[in-house]
Amino acid sequence: MEKHAIIGERIRNVDSPDKATGRAVYGTDFRLPGMLHGKILRSPFAHARILRVDTSRAEKVRGVKAVITAEDTPKIKYGAQIHDEYPLAVEKVRYEGDEIAAVAAVDEEAAQEALERIKIDYEPLPAVFSPQEAMAPGAPAIHESPQNIVTHIDFERGCVEEGFRSADVVLEDVFKSANVHQAYLEPHVCVAQADTLGNVTLWGSLQAPARNREILSRILKIPQSRIRIVQTTVGGGFGGKATQLISLYPICVFLAIKAGQPVRILNTWEEEFAASRSRMPAEIRMKLGIRKDGTFTAKEIEILANCGAYAGTGPAVVGTTATRATSLYRFPHVKCKADLVYTNLTPIGSYRGYGNPQLHFVMESMIDMASEAIDWDPLEVRVKNAIRKGETSVHGFAMNSCRLSECLEEAAVKSGWREKRGRRRKEGRGIGMASMIHVSGNRAVYPFFDGSTAYVRIQPHGGVEVVTGEAEIGQGSNTVFAQITAETLGVPLQEVRVLPVDTDHSPFALGTFASRVTTLGGKAVLLAAEDARQKLLSFAAAKMEVSPEKLELKEGRIRIKNSADPGMEYQEAAKLASHASGGAPILGVGAFSVPSTVQIPDASRYGNISMAYSFGVQVAEVQVDRKTGKVTIQKFFSVHDSGTVINPLLGEGQVEGGVVQGIGFALMEEILRKEGRVLNGNFTDYRIPTIRDVPPIETVFVEEPDPFGPFGAKGLGEITQVPTAAAIANAIYDAVGVRLKELPMTPERILASIRKRNR
């Protein structure tokens, strides 16, 4: 591999000093003079008709500056893909937490009092909470769609019947996963301000400011050119603050316009659990055929997924569940049926992995079951079927780089797989593995393009500025972009600053989702830096009276290659260039679109959706207490092919954090509801992993540069929690011989499985 000065180094996160000292200004910290407090009135019913709303008593509360209902809005439906929701309910509420009215007042107490004085007459309607209930004949219609179906997927590639006929063993089983929350520590928050000319500014902890502006523009009926979104420091997102714009933001703007003063709305955690968009739970039936020589012959799945009351990003999420995991292996015949169904629950949305962890749990569990049925080591079955570089998966994913097989072997060696597997059941100890695949950008999400644009400006003072609309949310993109720029330009890292995202100044960008920022955003930054470098060298070449090709820029100095000439500092060249052109900086522009081989999938969901696919393997070693059902993870290995790792320090951080979220999904997390009401909407009853729940995690990067990614990099953010539940489920099976088919795998469920087997 090519030797780099800054790429591949364990560079400290450039944002950490301000975060370590409390100086970073998060959404929750942002204040404006004269700022009012906004609060939202939410439905107490899961499904009801709104007969009458009376806000007159609320308006009289001292200190109240604005009260709004749907009547104060243009009543335009919106949604990430399907336009089926209003920011404030019109005629009907569809889940407990649905927004109906909002107030802005000089303090929280006045706002609260006003909310309590809004009088609403409801006619409760029959409600449905499971997809089965919602699809049943005679079920209440939540929207207009027949059987309450949001998205129906149905495809067959090859002929699964033929595939199953040629199998030696065919297994079939049903698995369930739970609705879990991103549990970023900073709740949704924003501050909105409207000026007298009709321009609107929104400050918020957002993952996709430019896309959020598009959606906001539709809802507000205000042109995008009059909306400015400024991203504050973000206290965690994991998909929860991405393209699915929750109503909080438009409501805040409506209030600010009506009040003529800035307004801030901050969700409480009760509201977060009741009304923000968490992971889609899915019930999945899978049929898998395998031959005695370890070859998969066919796979068939049926997905039944609960969307909650509005579509949100659900259609894309279920599309991911339907196809992605399959592309790990060579499947000659596959079939899929999926239904995403409206219910009267809180709508689901995007959470790190975007529907992918759900199917990985099922498929990687069933691969272990199938391996046992033919008496093969599941490692060998995975190696035998693993997709390889140069191949195209059954769904059309083109593998331009792929080191899955190497990851499997590396995981086996590092973990002592061959020595440990199946040998320690007496002590209740077990080892389990699962493979993973994920994208680096997903062409299916935004209809018009996938790619990114960045500017790299070298100012006359020598400072290098990176201007991008892609969002830093804690994952370290500011650091990675600075590294790419410094490496490409040949200037010291400390000279490079990545500017905060502000839609008035930053180029349009799709934002942080689909593990796209390092790969696509980074590629745009690379191109911009190359452009700036060339422009600077051209100027210097004219000054030095040599041809530009003879020059190099290294460690901040422009020199004639292979000569003793001292050349000049890049800052000097930038200053002179600026003086020679009216003060303009050297402006490098990087506009990158994914290659044309990357496509929106066709109606059957076939298509090469991403420029690069990342792979990996996780191995869990567990101890299961047969008396209590408690699982202790003793050691965890996470082996990744994410191409070139631009910053291993930050890369490990993505892995460790992702694995621990995966442990939460596997063992402890579930939003519990009764008739649509959240029962555990706080961090005592909704348990996420604490520092006491975390095992040692060994991260291994199996690096091979991808042909398209910047310096060969591919996505790493989401994939890290994609296979975790499956690896743990397989380890539990190895430890105590019970197969858990429902998440989370709580001690109660494990104990019940052990007892059932012993009967």
């Binding site: 955690w269 005592t684 992993p689």
Partner: protein, 154 residues
């Protein structure tokens, strides 16, 4: 409104506060020290941790008036003579910060631990930080950072 005399980051300050005002809101909204974060507002996440007479406490569970006559350290008070506290340095160096929303609280809790127990075992570190949630890092780099500071003090 009751008057309270509190030493904030080494400086005595007199304030008039509502008797119902929580310490977290006093620190953030009245003193403008927004390095102290507010998330769950119910003592479950630990993001609002400050040091009260050197002990780590959830500032969302304590009334401002209760701190009368006591000293409070927030993250803004950790730097000395323009230099970062060794724990701040270590959190940066070891990659123990991602979104950073929990970081001020983590650092202060770790400081309270090391002030009391300069050479903690890993179990002691885990026990001390069990009330501080982090969703980004997976905690391991936080443990590494704290250990490194402890080792450097030896």
């Amino acid at each position: 409104m009751p008057a309270i005399q509190v030493e904030i980051n080494g400086i005595p300050r007199k304030s008039f506060v509502e008797p119902t005002l929580m310490l977290v809101d006093f620190v953030r909204d009245h003193l403008g020290l927004t390095g102290t974060k507010k998330s769950c507002d119910s003592g479950n996440c630990g993001a609002c941790t400050v040091l009260l007479d050197g002990k780590a406490v959830n500032s969302c569970l304590i009334l401002a008036v209760e701190t009368d006559g006591h000293s409070i350290t927030t993250i803004e008070g950790l730097q000395k003579d323009g230099k970062l506290h060794p724990l701040q340095e270590a959190f940066i160096e070891f990659g123990a910060i991602q979104c950073g929303f929990c970081s001020p609280a983590m650092i202060l809790t770790a400081k309270a631990l090391l002030d009391q127990t300069p050479y903690p075992s890993e179990d002691q570190i885990r026990a001390a930080l069990a009330g501080n949630l982090c969703r980004c890092t997976g905690y391991l780099k936080i443990i590494e950072a704290i250990k490194s500071v402890s080792e450097r003090m030896r």
